[in-house]
């Protein structure tokens, strides 16, 4: 197992795109967060913590790319055959990959959240406190997005396809919900869409008005990620590479 993990870590570390994408996760998160808190006059009663963490919307795009590439480049380049010849126990390969990707994603996410928190402290006085649930929850959210992407990448095995499917699932479903005027249906969609449900973890005010409770929302996202990973693993174990 240590060997598989080491191999996956080496593969991830030695590709230049990984470094850029880690930077993009952190920078994207901080940039949108800073834009939100410093930029356009925010409403008086706004949830300052949530606003400062809105960079996760952008940061997650880089997470999706990172996790998708970790799987699909192996198929694009044909390296997967070498990998599986060297480590025939596919479950271990997969566990190593998931572990490496999650570790990198969590580190990048933690950097982004820390930067966003600093921006919030500078923008507001006294500024929102550092809280376990919204801040660590956002890092967890990014980690789960990485796992969801990993699972779907194992199913689709194509870079463009994976990224398109994941981003559609994340972004366009809530965009359609904005067109729906029936509040019951809107809530239903916001409750089951992985992004809006998962990001409920960031809320600190008006918790009753949320479509779904914070931890339950993160649970919904975890359900998606788990489902995708289970199907992806089954296919990975059975299909020819």
């Amino acid at each position: 197992m240590r060997g598989a993990l080491h191999a996956e870590w080496t593969k991830l570390r030695t590709v230049p795109s990984t470094g850029w994408l880690v930077l993009a996760v952190a920078a994207g998160t901080v940039a949108v967060g800073a834009f939100s808190v410093f930029g356009l006059g925010t409403a008086a009663g706004a949830d300052q913590t949530r606003l400062s963490l809105s960079g996760a919307y952008l940061g997650q795009v880089a997470v999706v790319a990172l996790a998708a590439l970790a799987v699909t480049t192996e198929y694009d380049t044909g390296m997967i055959r070498g990998t599986l010849a060297a480590a025939p126990r596919r479950g271990r390969v997969l566990a190593g990959k998931a572990f490496a990707v999650t570790a990198v994603t969590l580190c990048a996410g933690a950097l982004g959240v820390a930067g966003s928190y600093l921006c919030a402290r500078l923008a507001f006085s006294p500024g929102p406190a550092l809280m376990w649930r919204p801040h660590a929850g956002t890092v967890l959210y990014l980690g789960l997005i990485g796992l969801l992407t990993l699972g779907l990448a194992l199913i689709i095995r194509h870079t463009g396809g994976t990224i398109t499917v994941v981003l559609s699932l994340l972004f366009t479903v809530p965009a359609t919900a904005a067109l729906i005027t029936d509040p019951v249906w809107r809530e239903r969609i916001l409750r089951v869409a992985p992004m809006t449900a998962g990001l409920a973890i960031q809320a600190t005010t008006d918790l009753d008005a949320l479509p779904i409770a914070p931890w339950a929302g993160l649970g919904v996202l975890a359900g998606y990620a788990g489902g995708a990973l289970v199907v992806g693993t089954m296919l990975f174990l059975r299909r020819d590479a």
Binding site: L51, G160, I163, F171, A175, L179, R186
Partner: protein, 469 residues
Amino acid sequence: MREFGQVLRGEWTKFRSVRSTVWCVLAAVVLTVLLSSLAASATSTDANTAPRFVDEFSFVHQPLTGDGTVTARVASLAGGHEWAKAGLMIKDGAAQGSPYAAVMVTARHGVRLQSTFDTDVAGNAGTAPRWLRLTRTGSSVTGFESTDGRTWHEVGRRDVDRLPRVAEVGLFVASPLDVQTRKTGAGSNETAMIPTRSTAVFDQIAGDQLDPDAWQRTDVAPTVGPRLGEPGDADGTGQRFTVTGSGDVAGYGIESWIPPGDDDMVRNSLGGVQVGLMAVIALGVLFATSEYKTGTIRATLTASPRRGRVLAAKAVVLGGVVFLAGLVASAAAFVIAQPAMRANGYTPPAYPHLSLVDGPVLRAVVGTALFLALLAVFSLGIGAIRRRTVGALILVVVLVVVPQIVGPVVSLNAELWLGRLTPVAGLAIQQTRERFDSAIAPWAGLGVLSAYAVGAMVFAIVRLRGRDA
């Protein structure tokens, strides 16, 4: 020219023989239609259960038996609203909702003859001072206007059924609510109704049956429920009155009426395109980057060394196919959505039935196809510049999709500016109602997207010429 035809044919062959192309086009059409109809069946309105007219104003009146004529000059009209109204009215008593006909000057919309909450005839432009005359003959009421009190111009003649033999006739002033809608979050908004007041001076009041001592003033207002406007006032005697009023006399068919629902039915019917566009972005990006990934770009450029032409041919093939697929998708989405929306309360009078051949609907449906085609060409350009699927895909998605999600979270201002400056501006082509959250005019929005597409293509051609493949 023949050479370009050959390049075009080559690109078409490459385009149609790739499996992912077929999938992307199919996904774009299916997702657009499916999600549009889903959204339509989950959208409802209760606008038609709201009151269908408003009848609130300040009325200085006296009874008129049988036929007769009233004349007066509106010497001035001052007040807060473009639809402030001052003029002569004949009405079945002073109770709210009773039949009426009135000739009036408005603050900014000229002279009007309006009756029974549903008929609106425009006269000449201009405002006070203006002479007005109202003549009743049986059930027919005629309105006249004059700029000098000597030459009269007929504004119109309406039949008012159920007008009793003894009706109230007199001077009226109304000034509608100022409606300000504000966004309070993604998809939710708050409407503030601020009453306005207007004051008009009437003089040279004359009529064959008028009794200078019989004038009385009534605030016509709802008998139950809250008033929308404020109480009015009147001062004067006999031939000269200063009347202050608030509220409006209007309903469906009268231009100053503010209908209770402001949903954009057309835009809502085409909402699925926001999901379908993802497939179009992927299609555009992959059409460029897959040639680099597989290396066919070298064969392509050997076969047709004029590189600009290759990209132009790609854009024509891609744009054409996406336009046709988009047209099928948006027309189908619109047609399928209509019965569902009707079942959910989108019916006349608040929401007139729409048909594909109505001007604004046609613009929105064809415009949606154009939007998708331009978005595909923009994606192609970015793909050709970046040469790598991931980078190009992410760049386009961050420009197109993320603003729509982040904007509403930050503030209305952020949403409006992102809606003007990013390629999403092109979606404005779907708007058929001017709303408080409209970021940009329809064609201007499509223009912004075109600028992005042309810019990306020009840069891509320059880069393709200047670099090894």
